[in-house]
């Protein structure tokens, strides 16, 4: 019963950590637009936190490069389990128009396991909300204290 109660509460209280890997800020503005009175994500219990230790959902925008991949990995590892990663925007999905650049690693999935992909350049706030709701279902199903995928085992495989 306790397990069901905490799982039910997860859906009602997802705290977001928003990390900008190197986005042009187009996606970031759309993500922040979700918190404004028009969309008001707080009515679903969403709080945009600035602290990975409090976060449940990591929302990443922008391409990953060799400078910030360690920061991204570090943020992911600091989040207590269970946790969900949502890649937002074309750049976070695949590297976007920058994917051929010499300093770019590519999409977020090359560094950390991604649960939900939200395409768009830039994404619409509605698409971000849809993505978060998809992520919530995965967040609920994940076992507490254990993530389905460990950090590393996906990223290493993709990189090779």
């Amino acid at each position: 019963m306790w397990e069901r109660m905490t799982q039910g509460s997860r859906i009602k209280s997802p705290w977001l950590l928003h990390y900008d890997c190197g986005s042009c800020n187009g996606c970031d503005i759309e993500v922040l637009a979700c918190l404004t009175p028009i969309y008001d994500l707080e009515r679903f219990g969403v709080v945009n936190v600035g602290n990975p230790l409090h976060a449940d959902i990591l929302l990443v925008t922008g391409t990953v490069n060799h400078r910030n991949k360690r920061v991204l990995r570090n943020l992911y590892e600091q989040m207590p389990r269970p946790k969900v990663v949502i890649a937002v925007g074309s750049c976070a999905l695949t590297g976007g128009v920058f994917r051929e650049a010499y300093n770019v690693v590519g999409g977020v999935a090359k560094v950390i396991p991604v649960d939900v992909y939200v395409p768009g350049c830039p994404v619409k706030p509605e698409a971000v909300i849809d993505g978060v709701i998809l992520g919530l279902e995965r967040f609920r199903r994940k076992k507490s204290g254990k993530n389905l995928l460990e950090p590393g085992d996906w990223g290493e495989e993709r990189r090779g």
Binding site: K12, S13, G50, G145
Partner: protein, 283 residues
Amino acid sequence: MNEGLLVAGFALVGAPLLGGLITGADRIITARLQARIGPPLIQPFYDVAKLLGKEQIAVNVWQVFGACAYLMASAIAVVLLALRTDLLVILFTQAVGSVFLVVGALASASPYSQVGAHRELLQVLCYEPLLILVAVGVYLHVGSFKVSDILAWQTPLLSKLPFLFLALGCVLTIKLRKSPFDLSTSHHGHQEIVKGLLTDYSGPILAFAEIGHWLETVLLLGLCALFWTTHWLGMILLAGATFALQILIDNVSSRMNWRWMLGYVWAVGLSLSVVNLVWVQAR
């Protein structure tokens, strides 16, 4: 004896529920003041239930100890208030709890946590003298520190101790972590020092700190209610009006720095208290 146990048990169950609902109402009213709809009333309970089910990441054992001691001290203070014991014992128990929360934050090497802890200590330094002076004023007027004697008093305390009530309102703004005094940590997701005092609390121990905060909210609103003890409706109205004013102040003011807080709270709060004490004594 049996009745005492019953009251204590009721307070232990009822106070967190009441505190959570008050926090939920606070979030809705704040959202409405910002032209948003806001979360459901029981949102704080969802948050705490989720946090309790998350993985425990603790910096060291002192952090866990600090959070647990804070929760325990807040619970004991609320129970002591419900049992109508000594006002001073209640205030000192609550102060011990606040210090343990700081101990837990200082257990981490994170600069955000450290700065938040130091700011919290400054806040304690600001409001503790005022709380003691409120108790002293009540003693000078009623002739006893006992909550049972205050409840038996025939005229509302507010009529003779209005300035001390204002000082208590000042304390409430600091303790409820409302602007302009939400220096050490605030209810918002973002702060200039990430989450300040609570930066390194996460998962279940963050939930403990949150429940402790609910209990403190109930305790302080209970102290406000003591200023109108002649009728239960007056108690509820006074506590409710004070809380509504706190939310309004929170939304119309911005965060100030600790120097301003120390100067303002000591200058205004202490002079209000002293004027009231002199007035009570002169009669």
